[in-house]
Amino acid sequence: MSKTNDKPERPGHEEPDHLKLRLFVTGASPNSVRAISNIKNICERHAQHKYSLEIIDIYQNAAIAEEEQLVALPLLIKKSPLPERRLIGDMSDNEKVLRGLGLI
């Protein structure tokens, strides 16, 4: 598993509205690349210093696909704050992403 921890500004500092995100991608497919850059942009703009993003390439670990019930990719899972949300796509629809993450 290759976890690309996108260096949250203050690791360990858990605020109640701290966003914990996990993004599943497939290598460097166009959708994956777009999704990574889009989510980063959104988070930087709307949740600066309040998020952690874990990017997982499932080509590296196919078994996780079954565990995490992956079907459509890229998939972004908001682990916390609850409720857990799943967002699929290249994260190009800003409004939907923000609503999904509970940022607006």
Binding site: I58, A72, P74, I88
Partner: protein
């Protein structure tokens, strides 16, 4: 394929390889199974057995052909699936442990997912690829992939991805079965048949008259011959069986052995020997004409030959039949007790035609009879249409004849019209057809019987009257009166009439005989008197002759005496004379 290559290769294109399903009947219809390395679409309405068919394909592939399989379900939970399959005697858990099968349950819930732009179904590809590679699967089942349409919004993406998935499966070299829900007027709700073009199997569960029948049809099968009909199939504790196994071929052994019908006079109509073993015999007729009685005679005769006989009664209970047959001097009880005769009675409406067929199949397989009686087939119409009954009977006859079992069917014909066609339309299927009917004439009803056909043997073409009496069934000899064939009391009157004239005639004859006798006596008397006359004449003649002799003797004696009396010379002379002489 590899036996004779070079020349054959040019003449005919390579047959496509098939992946056998191991499901009884289906491989026969598809001529070997599903197209190997290609996807097959199985579509049908809810509860028609799509999932079961695909699971059987996977499980039988493992058990019979040692081909591991992947089951990917979009509908049921993996545990539910295992439980469902366990009811058929398949143990998915063990197979999973043995790494023969891999079950992956795909869960998609639209309410949990937010779509935020372009995506693909790579997750599915990776999961499937991983599952296939982890056990070296040759077979894949996707049930029901259409659920993707419910879980995701962007139909364009799903369609594109499905197309890609199928191409990818082909490139993987796995044989895939994909199930899909039937749509309104189309094969599948989401038009999956557009993508799966190699083989499409349609399942249906049709309910008519409150009785359900499952049907299977191969809609298309690219590059292969296949049966095109709708084939009824069953789901029982042994899984799916598409019936019949043999219907596509008309190849079977035939016997030229003849077996008696139990009615000697009927045997006589059939060239004196009865029917062929393993043939199918239809007895049709109007109500109360004695169809059952004829069938029972046949069964009784089989039991007497120590052959097992299976009697399917759809109208009367076994006890009823036994009691009724006692009245015509047939004791079936002894055969039932000795185990040679077995009754299997059920109401036709008990279950669908197909279940009846299976029940008959099973009983026959268990009991292994030489003779089967089905009495009557008419009642089956009440649970299915004529064509369904016909198709069921075709398959039944086929099966029985394959097993070299002689089968007697009785059928009730509509008394309103003496049609020469049975309601079930099976008359063309059977080898022999006897028709019994009422002949109403002269204020009474009589039973007439004739043999409409009897393949492969000479048979009488006469309408014979037959009687049912305490002694059993008998055919009355053809009785020709002045106005044609006579039956019933007309025949009896004629018979009496003829007896009378016979008596008169014989009387006349005896009178003449006596006359002759008398003449003979007279003649003899005359001869005797003539002989007497002759004798007396002869005696008379003899008498004179004897008298002459006597007279001569006496004269001689007298002469001798006279000479003796003279003595002397005469005496010497007398002594000398004999020496001289």
């Amino acid at each position: 394929m590899s036996t004779t290559r070079a020349k054959k290769k040019i003449v005919q294109p390579r047959k496509i390889e098939k992946s056998p399903t191991g499901i009884s009947g289906l491989d026969e219809i598809t001529e070997g199974g599903l197209p190997k390395g290609r996807p097959t679409l199985i579509c049908g309405g809810a509860g028609c057995g799509k999932t079961l068919l695909s699971i059987e394909y996977i499980v039988r592939g493992i058990l019979l052909y040692n081909e591991p399989g992947v089951i990917m379900v979009f509908e049921e939970k993996a545990e539910e699936l295992a439980a469902n399959v366990a009811s058929l005697g398949f143990d998915l858990a063990t197979l999973q442990q043995e790494k023969k099968v891999k079950i992956d349950y795909v869960h998609i819930d639209r309410s949990e997912i937010e779509e935020t732009g372009e995506y693909d179904l790579d997750g599915l590809f990776i999961r499937l690829g991983y599952a296939i590679d982890s056990i070296g699967a040759k077979r894949v089942m996707l049930d029901t992939i259409e659920n993707l349409f419910a879980g995701l919004q962007n139909e364009a993406i799903i369609r594109a991805e499905l197309r890609r998935l199928l191409t990818w499966l082909k490139s993987k070299g796995v044989t895939a079965v994909i199930t899909a829900e039937k749509g309104d007027g189309v094969l599948t709700r989401h038009g999956l048949e557009e993508y799966v073009s190699d083989c499409v199997i349609l399942l249906d569960n049709r309910v008519s008259n409150q009785i359900a029948t499952r049907l299977l049809r191969i809609v298309k099968y690219r590059g292969s011959l296949h049966g095109t009909n709708e084939y009824p199939f069953l789901i029982d504790e042994d899984g799916i069986s598409v019936l019949p196994v043999t219907s596509l071929k008309l190849e079977r052994n035939v016997s030229s052995e003849r077996i008696s019908t139990g009615i000697p006079s009927l045997d006589k109509m059939l060239g004196g020997k009865g029917f062929f073993r393993g043939s199918s015999i239809l007895i049709s007729g109007t109500a109360g004409t004695g169809k059952t009685s004829i069938a029972v005679h046949f069964a009784n005769e089989a039991a007497k030959r120590k052959e097992r006989c299976l009697y399917f009664a759809f109208e009367e209970s076994p006890q009823q039949i036994i009691r009724n047959m006692r009245s015509i001097n047939i004791n079936l009880n002894t055969h039932v007790e000795s185990g040679l005769l077995q009754f299997h009675a059920s109401r036709p409406t008990l279950n669908g035609l197909e279940m009846h067929l299976v029940a008959i199949h099973k009983k026959v397989k268990e009991f292994k009879p030489r003779v089967v009686v089905i009495d009557p087939i008419t009642n089956l119409v009440s649970i299915g249409s004529v064509s369904e009954v016909k198709s069921m009977l075709i398959r039944l006859l086929d099966f029985l004849q394959q097993e070299q079992i002689t089968v007697i069917l009785t059928a009730l014909t509509n008394s309103a019209s003496y049609t020469e066609q049975t309601d079930e339309g099976v008359s063309s299927l059977v080898d022999a057809w006897m028709m019994v009917r009422d002949i109403e004439d002269n204020g009474e009803r009589n039973r007439g019987m004739y043999i409409m056909k009897s393949r492969g043997m000479s048979h009488s073409n006469q309408v014979r009257e037959f009687t049912i009496s305490d002694a059993g069934l008998d055919l009355v000899d053809v009785f020709l009166g002045e106005n044609g064939v006579l039956i019933g009391s007309a025949r009896e009157t004629q018979q009496l009439e003829e007896q009378k004239s016979l008596a008169v005639h014989s009387n006349a004859i005896s009178r003449k005989d006596r006359e002759i006798k008398r003449k003979e006596t007279i003649l003899h008397a005359k001869i005797a008197s003539l002989r007497e006359e002759f004798e007396s004449l002869q005696e008379e003649l003899n008498k004179t002759f004897v008298e002459d002799e006597l007279r001569k003797d006496i004269i001689e004696k007298n002469r001798l005496q006279m000479t003796e009396k003279r003595h002397g010379i005469d005496n010497q002379k007398k002594k000398k004379q004999p020496t001289k002489l």
